[in-house]
Symmetry: C3
Subunit: 160 residues, 3 copies
């Protein structure tokens, strides 16, 4: 692994993560499944349950179709308090890379602002990701959101 290719790969991963965050924060959720491959895995789970390998999670989808369904039902239900998300992404950490796949881990912070105008910490935690390059574009094979913040004021409805 040369430094040059590292810098390139980091630029690519950074672009992907900032596009992902902007997609959610700008409420273009219908575009969100496009960040994943067809046979993907997406899970939001508490750090406690993750560390103990317990099955209970706040959200779990094992295909891109399920991600699409998730957004459809979210739009239809729409009974939750209106809020805005704002993702602050720390520096991505590349854990490993092979010819086919890149594994990364990245700390995140999601700030939520309700209609009152007050911003609070909605979720702090880390992403554990597996990425592949398809037609020149990085996509998620797996994104596991492991959150520290177990006590939240609103439900986890939208993806993180």
């Amino acid at each position: 692994m040369t430094f040059e290719s590292d810098a390139q790969l980091q630029a690519e991963i950074s672009l992907l993560f900032s596009q992902y965050a902007a997609c959610i924060d700008n409420d273009r959720l219908e575009k969100w499944p496009e960040f994943f491959v067809e046979q993907c895995f997406y899970k939001i789970q508490s750090r406690e349950n993750h560390d103990r390998k317990l099955p209970i999670s706040a959200m779990e989808c094992d295909s891109k179709n399920m991600l699409v369904d998730r957004i459809v039902s979210l739009r239809e239900a729409n009974i939750f308090a209106e809020h805005m998300y704002r993702h602050i992404i720390s520096i991505p950490l590349i854990l490993s890379k092979s010819e086919n796949e890149i594994a990364t881990q990245t700390n995140y912070l999601v700030i939520s602002t309700l209609q009152s105008g007050i911003s609070h910490i909605f979720s702090a935690g880390r992403y554990q990701d597996r990425l592949v390059r398809i037609d020149g574009q990085l996509k998620f094979v797996e994104r596991i959101v492991i959150f520290d913040t177990n006590s939240i004021r609103t439900q986890i409805v939208t993806p993180i």
Copy 2:
């Protein structure tokens, strides 16, 4: 657009954004206008007003001279509660680039610490930027600060 040039450009933009944040956080506000070209536009506006294209903003300057004036009057007035800003900048998203101009969008979080020593979320939101390169140095033609946090404990006096 090659990956190599992407990595270089991202390094340049990252440098600019971290210098900009350090300038404000270290209270060297007199240097702040230097990040802009002469004919620039700087605005701080709520997301609500921005989305509805309403004119009301928390701060608006349409030239570098106005930015300079802003800092002069801020130093003279000085009637607001003493506070420290700390900018946490998420990954910059390059939206487009031409030969002359780069458009970016970047999430930010500003933590404010008052003399009590308590830190709180002062502002969460995003930058919408237009950048040009002048004499080898990136400068802002336009920086629009669109904040989610509508309910704040202190006035927006210093730039974000």
Copy 3:
């Protein structure tokens, strides 16, 4: 300094900082001293004391051995409230680089989550770092943590 080498160096520094944060956040504190050279300096100090050049600090170690001792006693004492840290690192700012040493300054935010599950701002501030490359790997000669957040709910026991 060419843009290319800038991008490479920034990728290296970013990797170091994300590994450092992951080491602490994942509670692998025994690995933490490995980020430093033998003759290193590590200090956690309030911005107020730092600016006034006052000697009092929350933590101060002037060798790698002292860092090791610090972790040993932290593990043995273990009388503080259980908590999780989550570092959100802003964009590193390279201040200077010579053949032997790189000086950087980087804003950070540490979110702490107690057993209640509530996340709060534990510390906001900046790192002031001096780095050297040893056997191809960047290491800290000096890391000074200068925190804004003077009023904290729990003691500073673990490194930041």
